[in-house]
């Protein structure tokens, strides 16, 4: 009971501290602005209206009642609003606010007043940590409520999966925040903690993308090697058949045509051999890093879970192709499609649990230092 009073007091103090910052109001205002902008997109019989009808884009496909409108509207939410705004801009702003939680708490003169109480250091640590996450969760919560209402109003989709943004963004944020806390506890400096976190974030982002690009290229070269080998096999069969039939001219032709694909297959294989070790190394590094991007990506997956049409199709224009237009994609496209498929196959539990393991390790170190430290 007494610990309960203390926990509430610490949470309240964190909240008051964060609210006292000027940035708080700015973030709140910007959140409002984004949600109003989202709300201002509407669909009618002839196309899309923007800014509450201020401008209008005519479209044959994307108008009210079409599946395109639904996919687009939800896609704007998951791909732009959550991915770009919540998971980038708003997160940077939140990091700027919450970076000060531990350093300002640990300031000389302030920390003695709290550490000299009956509440244990472990409790204090976790309450402070959760306080930072709550701050983010509350902001995202208000935000998603707006998005939920917007989607219901605009495209008549009342999908509670929209609220998945709350745990997912908070989870994503917690991967960064644990690093923030670790550096904050060690250095007691807001600025250092902030910069270190941004650096860490940037590195997870780069590692993830480097890994992606490497994998994509490996797939691409593998596809082209396979295709070339297949072509080689076909031509060889042709040549052998011609030789057997005594058609020397045709056999020679086939042998001649064979050289191109053969060379291509060799080159592609060489490229694969060259890239593969790097891809493996990046894959290993990626395996121990928290999945910042993919965690956010889970929301997207959930929102499109049973739609026939994906945002990817919309963006690439594939959604508007007629069946007869269908052509075999080139290697690059094939690799991209393969990547999307593979990405969708990575299980959600794996993405989350490996990231959470990372977070626990970092938090464990931070807590260990926090408990042992002399203030």
């Amino acid at each position: 009971m007494n610990t309960g009073i203390a926990i509430l007091a610490i949470l309240r103090e964190s909240w008051l501290t964060l609210r006292a910052e000027k940035l708080f109001k700015l973030v709140l205002g910007l959140n409002m602005l984004v949600i109003v902008a989202y709300l201002s997109v509407g669909f009618d019989d002839t196309g899309v209206s923007l800014f509450f009808g201020l401008t209008h884009v005519d479209s044959e496909y994307i108008r009210s009642g079409t599946p395109f409108a639904r996919t687009l509207y939800l896609g704007i939410y998951s791909a732009f609003i959550v991915n770009l705004w919540l998971a980038w801009a708003a997160s940077i702003l939140a990091l700027i606010s919450t970076s000060s939680i531990f350093p300002s708490f640990l300031k000389e003169g302030a920390v003695e007043l709290v550490m000299s109480r009956p509440t244990g250091r472990t409790t204090i640590f976790f309450v402070k940590y959760i306080g930072g996450l709550l701050f983010v969760a509350v902001q995202v919560g208000i935000f998603t409520l707006g998005a939920f209402i917007a989607a219901g109003w605009r495209v008549d989709v009342w999908d509670p999966a929209i609220f998945l943004a709350i745990p997912l963004v908070t989870l994503f944020y917690s991967y960064l925040f644990c690093v923030n806390v670790l550096v904050g506890v060690i250095t007691r400096s807001t600025l250092t903690a902030l910069l270190a976190t941004l650096l860490f974030w940037f590195s997870t982002f780069s590692i993830h993308n480097t890994d992606k690009i490497l994998t994509e290229n490996v797939i691409r070269f593998q596809t082209s090697a396979t295709r070339a080998e297949k072509r080689v096999a076909e031509l060889e069969a042709e040549r052998d058949a011609a030789t057997a039939a005594g058609q020397t001219k045709e056999a020679e032709d086939a042998s001649h045509w064979l050289q191109g694909p053969q060379q291509k297959a060799e080159q592609a294989q060489a490229a694969v051999d060259q890239l593969l070790p790097w891809e493996t190394v990046m894959g290993l590094i990626q395996a121990i890093m928290p999945e910042t991007d993919r965690t956010i990506g889970l929301l997207h997956r959930m929102l499109e879970r049973d739609a026939d049409l994906s945002m990817q199709d919309l963006m690439s224009g594939r959604a508007f192709e007629k069946d007869e237009d269908h052509v075999v994609p080139d290697e690059m496209e094939a690799a991209q499609i393969e990547m999307v498929d593979r990405e969708n196959e990575v299980p959600g539990w794996w993405i989350i649990s490996k990231s959470v393991v990372f977070e626990f390790i970092i938090l464990g170190i931070a807590l260990w230092i926090f408990r042992r430290r002399d203030f």
């Binding site: 009073i5 203390a6 007091a9 501290t17 302030a110 709290v114 042992r372 002399d374």
Partner: protein, 313 residues
């Protein structure tokens, strides 16, 4: 009654081999005002922080209020005013006190009652709705004191409580401490303003370079150093063996270890010589004298600030 604080062999070595405490033992009796004295960097604040579990000792054994040092629940019964404390600047005096009261596990109803009472006690009732960040140093110190007293602790550890407080405030604090002691509270106070402690100190320890150089009750420490001083107008007499001290146009004859009887002949002699007596008084050794004595006991470089560095000696 068991000691309020009873610690043995406290050692603390900070990183970079700063040996702040090198085997400190002391006992603070309940219901006493205990003064912790010592030069800058002697380790006084470190010792208090160890008692409050803000700093971990390298070695310690002993108890506070009958429980082992570091026992968290016991801290509910202890009030602490840290040196150079600072409150969340954006909080009002009232909010800050609610915060600290809650940390000590006080319920709201109790907090409301006590906060009002404490703010009145430290003379800050009119400022309860104002932000702590706008307060002067002395005002912050008063809030700090209110914070330490809020949960009605049995034991108070005050690290330089009068730092920055005006003369009237100091006097009020002094009276408050006496009142608290008479109420049965135990107070450990750490201050450099010896004159202020003079009239309230029951027990003391002088810490020098991480060691206790002198410890005991005032009576114990000063009993063999009582003396009488007879002051009169005029210059020093040639006819006495007693120690004399010139004080402007006056002279003081100092009679260590004397009783009132021993003084009478000296008075007679002075009067016989036609000088006017200004003052006859019995003087105990002052805290300042005790402090200096402790430094002498501790050795040559005792007066230089800071802790000892390097390997154990």
């Amino acid at each position: 009654m068991p000691a309020a604080i009873d610690i043995q062999d406290v050692e603390k070595t900070f990183r970079k081999k700063v040996r702040a405490l090198r085997g400190v033992s002391m006992q603070v009796d309940p219901g006493q005002i205990f003064c912790l004295l010592g030069p800058n960097g002697a380790g006084k604040s470190t010792l208090v922080k160890i008692l409050m579990s803000v700093i971990h000792a390298s070695r310690i054994s002993g108890t506070m209020l009958g429980m082992p040092i570091g026992h968290k629940e016991t801290l509910r019964r202890v009030g602490y005013l840290p040196e150079h404390h600072r409150f969340p600047a954006f909080m009002t005096a009232e909010q800050a006190l609610h915060f600290y009261g809650s940390l000590s596990g006080m319920r709201r109803a109790n907090r409301l009652k006590r906060i009002q009472a404490m703010l009145e006690l430290v003379g800050m009732a009119a400022w309860r709705k104002h932000r702590v960040g706008t307060f002067s140093k002395g005002m912050q110190q008063r809030i700090g004191l209110a914070q330490a007293l809020l949960h009605d602790p049995e034991l108070l550890l005050l690290d330089e409580p009068t730092d920055g407080v005006d003369p009237v405030g100091r006097r009020e604090i002094r009276d408050l401490l006496i009142h608290l002691r008479n109420d049965g509270h135990t107070i450990l106070i750490n201050s450099h303003i010896l004159s202020e402690l003079e009239t309230i100190c029951d027990q003391l320890a002088v810490v020098v370079k991480g060691r206790v150089a002198l410890e005991g009750t005032i009576d114990e420490l000063t009993s063999d150093r009582r003396r009488w001083i007879v002051a009169y107008e005029g210059s020093g007499p040639e006819w006495t063996d007693e120690e004399t001290r010139q004080d402007g146009r006056n002279t003081q004859v100092i009679l260590p270890g004397a009783s009132a009887n021993d003084v009478q002949p000296v008075i007679d002699r002075i009067r016989g010589a036609g000088c006017s007596i200004i003052d006859v008084s019995e003087v105990r050794e002052s805290l300042e004298d005790l402090f200096m004595r402790a430094l002498e006991l501790a050795g040559e470089d005792a007066a230089t600030p800071g802790a000892n560095k390097g390997r154990p000696t």
